[in-house]
């Protein structure tokens, strides 16, 4: 008979297996503490909404923002270590991630890129018609099919286009697409949805237009910051962005280096960013 082995062997297990178990771990932590969250992407995706045989390499959950602190305490109580913060995790400052030696990465989202209504209210809307999906033989709440179509399409938009779009949007019936558009309207996510489905030019006057154009078509860091600045609608938001623009992202530097960055690492990166910015400006001047 075959036997059983612990830890050392299973760490060599397929990433997909670890991801399934990690979803279950996070859900158990949520159940025990009354934390509201939804599982997104990967094994949380309902049948037919992603290519067969496609697997995620990390866990994505959307937490009710007012429950974030409880979730952080919960995941860190079982050995997860925070690696990026919400400010530095992405251009949308919407997620942070945690690492566990057994379970790998968990991305905790407080909002979803493209959704612009208040995050707590957005959670209510996305969770309103949630359904239960078994992941690793445990009950996990996931958004319903319409919400998943929207989430995957928005994800495709912010990733510059993915195969998710084929299943989540292109293959949807006109009625299903109408339902997704209605949900996007309720969440004030029309511009992001338009970016995902090739209708962005209909929103040229929107403050977030440049940001989504940058995300979907690419561009320099200078373009990115210009787009982020345009999308920041308050003076305070603009000031925070400008401050962040001057700083080196220590979290990402740590991941690149494989260790906590030293002062000299940060200084070296700062010099690199300045040189890159100067290079971009020079090429911009030459073009103009």
């Amino acid at each position: 008979m075959g036997g059983m082995s612990e830890e050392t062997d299973v760490r060599a297990a397929p990433v997909a297996a670890r991801v399934h178990l990690a979803h279950a771990v996070v859900q158990k932590l949520a159940d025990d503490r009354g934390i509201d969250l939804l599982h997104l992407k990967g094994p949380a995706v309902l049948p037919g909404l992603r290519p067969e045989g496609r697997h995620s390499s990390d866990v994505d959950v959307l937490v009710r923002p007012s429950h974030l602190r409880s979730l952080v305490t919960a995941v860190e109580s079982v050995g997860f270590e925070q690696r990026t913060s919400f400010a530095t995790g992405s251009v949308f400052a919407h997620a942070a991630n945690w690492w566990h030696d057994d379970w790998g990465w968990v991305d905790v989202h407080m909002s979803w890129p493209g959704v612009t209504i208040d995050a707590e209210r957005a959670y209510d809307v996305l969770a309103r018609d949630r359904v239960v999906r078994q992941i690793a033989h445990r009950d996990c709440p996931v958004p319903n099919r319409t919400a998943q179509r929207l989430i995957l399409t928005l994800h495709s938009a912010r990733s510059g286009g993915t195969t998710d779009l084929d299943h989540a949007w292109t293959a949807a019936t006109p009625e299903e697409q109408d339902a997704v558009r209605a949900l996007a309207t309720e969440l004030h996510a029309e511009v992001a949805l338009a970016a995902g489905i090739g209708e962005l030019e209909l929103h040229r006057g929107d403050p977030t237009y440049l940001l989504w154009r940058h995300v979907t078509r690419g561009g320099s860091r200078f373009d990115e910051w210009r787009a982020r600045l345009a999308a920041a609608t308050t003076l305070r938001a603009k000031a925070e962005l400008l401050t962040a623009a001057m700083r080196v992202n220590r979290d990402h530097l740590r991941m690149e280096l494989g260790h906590a960055p030293t002062r000299s690492d940060i200084r070296a990166r700062q010099r690199l960013r300045l040189r890159r910015a100067a290079g971009e400006l020079t090429s911009r001047v030459r073009r103009s």
Binding site: G3, A13, L21, K28, A74
Partner: protein
Amino acid sequence: MRYRIADDVAWVSEEDLDGGEEPTAYLTRVPKGPPILLEGSGCVVWLALDEGGTLEEVIATAAAMTGAEPDSISDDVATLVDQLVVIGVVIEE
């Protein structure tokens, strides 16, 4: 005495993952682990335990899954079931 998978266990098999040729199950007690790997016939016994039952029923299910004679695997199945009970992923009631 009946055996079944404990309530706090999460598990996934290669079947769920559209995966490899050898039966493999990955399981853990949530939320603290540790992760456990069951390969080959160990996975077959686990899948039999998923249906629950007495030791004789688990042996019969595992035998049916593998085409083995129940008598030829009964000692090994009993040993593995005992080990799984000791680590808390299977309960006897």
